[in-house]
């Protein structure tokens, strides 16, 4: 655990040193703020004291931002060879991946924490469903975990950051929208199957304030699956046929 934290700390520090973190935060807050308060079906347009418009837009911003955050994490280490430095110190593949995962999740958590003033403001404007807000934030974190692990898997595949970015977006698109569309096009078992795979299905019930173990399990298993794949790709160098 200590090793995981050492990696995460370095990773976070490099986010803030290289301005990536600031750009991320500004873009995230800018986008979500703009669409939550000023444009489209914003809060004043809906006329309800709810953070739903924010969560809606945050889901899309995270979908694009997380791959941008994770693309270099393993790809760059592999390209520059620094991965060899790390893995020949007292560190194993899992600790490395978990450290990177933790750093990304913390950065997202920081970004989400900066939107808490939205919550405070709206709760002054009208009576807000506090439970739904908190479970909405939980949902955001769960979605982020899933996307980060997909991003790390994509990054473990290649030495090229752009390839990692595009792969992550490609896989992400399925969960973000394609499964949802497919679910609408099929009936019966296939329809249910695709509906189960789609993030929307699970996120919507969480956003309503219903935290079901089934939904938690869904997000955690994507995360687990993504990280396991990333680990197995990384440790492929060890495979002895």
């Amino acid at each position: 655990m200590k090793q995981v934290w050492i990696i995460a700390k370095r990773e976070l520090k490099s986010f803030f040193d290289s301005l990536i973190a600031y750009i991320m935060l500004i873009l995230f807050l800018g986008f979500s703020g703009f669409f939550t308060w000023l444009f489209g079906s914003d809060i004043f347009f809906i006329g309800q004291a709810t953070l739903e418009p924010f969560f809606m837009i945050a889901r899309w911003t995270l979908f694009f931002f997380i791959p941008a955050l994770t693309m270099k994490m393993l790809a760059e280490e592999k390209r520059s060879g620094t991965i060899e430095l790390l893995l020949t110190k007292g560190l194993n593949d899992w600790q490395l991946i978990l450290g990177k995962f933790l750093a990304s999740l913390l950065l997202i958590a920081i970004a989400l924490a900066f939107t808490l003033p939205y919550y405070v403001t709206i709760s002054y404007l009208g009576s807000i469903d506090h439970g739904a807000v908190w479970s909405g934030y939980l949902g955001m974190l769960l979605i982020s975990m899933a996307y980060i692990s997909i991003g790390l898997f994509a990054s473990s595949q290649t030495n090229n950051q752009i390839v990692a970015l595009l792969t992550a977006l490609l896989i992400g698109t399925f969960f973000q929208i394609i499964f949802d569309v497919l679910a609408g096009n099929f009936t019966g078992f296939l329809g249910q199957f695709f509906s189960y795979l789609s993030i929307s299905t699970h996120y919507e019930s969480i956003a309503r304030g219903v935290i079901d173990t089934k939904d938690l399990l869904y997000f955690l298993s994507i995360t687990f699956f993504g990280l396991t794949l990333a680990e197995s790709v990384l440790s492929k160098r060890n495979i002895v046929e």
């Binding site: 490099s14 020949t88 060890n238």
Partner: protein
């Protein structure tokens, strides 16, 4: 701490990068790994440092095996990988601290160790700079500093002096030699004088196999089964006369005229025989003037070339 490599094999696809090699390195020994590019030096090092698993065979560090005790082994080894990868966006001190923490240096000792390493590698002036801003030589010093930060018992250095200027090379070699007195050091290099200057023992590998193992004197002797001398003889009418006269001597195996010279010859004696005295006597008898007689030492370069080019055609 001893390193014992047993029947180590690593395959990349069908190619055997390391082919069933075994050797042992003892504490206080500096082992030089020599070989042409692609011989398997780096691969072997990667396996010793637990970055890669071998297809077959085992490496034992003390009583620890790379198959079971990877984490303990990693903490005992300081490793400078080939081409010295580093985080260019990190300042030197921060990076050394990161390395120290990863290697499990206790918190209260970290600053002390960093200061020691900075002094040892002469990084004092550059310690606040980002690694990416340093010259190649200084980057190499950072690489060495991070490898030694946790005072490891074993040092594995993959081409430690590439990119250094001659002064730095001398310093680093001295450093390695000093370290080698109490630690186990394996270093790889293409630079032959470097091996002679720093290593107690030399291991030459080619195509994944060990082709020579021993001190530089041993290797010389081995390659030099016969005495080779260069002689220059003046005062003879004809070159051919000299060649045939020399060739008739009982101890002489082969006479080679030196190119671009009418009067110099390289003489290989037969195994175990010396031709110096007969040649002198021959000259006296014929009233030739012997102006030069130099025993030729086989250079390490020659041994290296001989051992590593022989089986290229296979």
């Amino acid at each position: 701490m001893n390193i014992i490599v047993e029947n180590l094999t690593k395959k990349y696809g069908n190619q055997r990068a390391v082919d069933n090699i075994s050797f042992e390195v003892k504490t206080g020994e500096v082992l030089g790994f020599l070989g042409p590019n692609g011989a398997g030096k780096t691969t072997t090092m990667k396996m010793i440092t637990c970055y890669m698993a071998p297809n077959d065979g085992d490496i034992k560090i003390g009583d620890l095996s790379i198959h079971e005790n990877q984490n303990e082994i990693k903490k005992k080894i300081g490793y400078l990988p080939e081409s010295n990868p580093l985080y260019y966006d990190m300042p030197v001190l921060e990076y050394l601290e990161f390395a120290a923490r990863l290697q499990g240096v206790p918190d209260n000792k970290i600053n002390e160790r960093i200061a020691e390493m900075v002094a040892l590698t002469g990084l004092n002036k550059e310690k606040h700079k980002k690694i990416g801003e340093l010259s190649k030589g200084y980057k190499q010093r950072v690489g060495l500093a991070q490898a030694m930060i946790h005072d490891p018992e074993i040092l594995i250095l993959d081409e430690p002096t590439t990119g250094l200027d001659p002064n730095q090379i001398v310093e680093i070699r001295k450093l390695i030699k000093d370290l080698g007195k109490e630690k186990t050091v394996i270093l790889s290099t293409h630079i032959l004088p470097e091996v002679e200057a720093t290593c107690d023992r030399i291991l030459i590998i080619n195509n994944g196999k060990i082709v020579a193992d021993g001190t530089s004197e041993m290797l010389r002797k081995q390659a030099q089964g016969q005495e080779i001398i260069k002689v220059t003889i003046e005062g003879a009418a004809e070159r051919d006369a000299i060649i045939s006269a020399l060739g008739e001597l009982e101890s002489v195996g082969m006479v080679d005229p030196v190119k671009d010279s009418e009067i110099s010859f390289i003489i290989n004696s037969k195994d175990g025989l010396s031709s110096r005295k007969p040649i002198f006597e021959l000259c006296v008898k014929n009233k030739w003037v012997l102006t030069e007689m130099t025993p030729l030492e086989t250079k390490l370069e020659d041994i290296f070339r001989e051992l590593t080019t022989n089986c290229k055609g296979i």
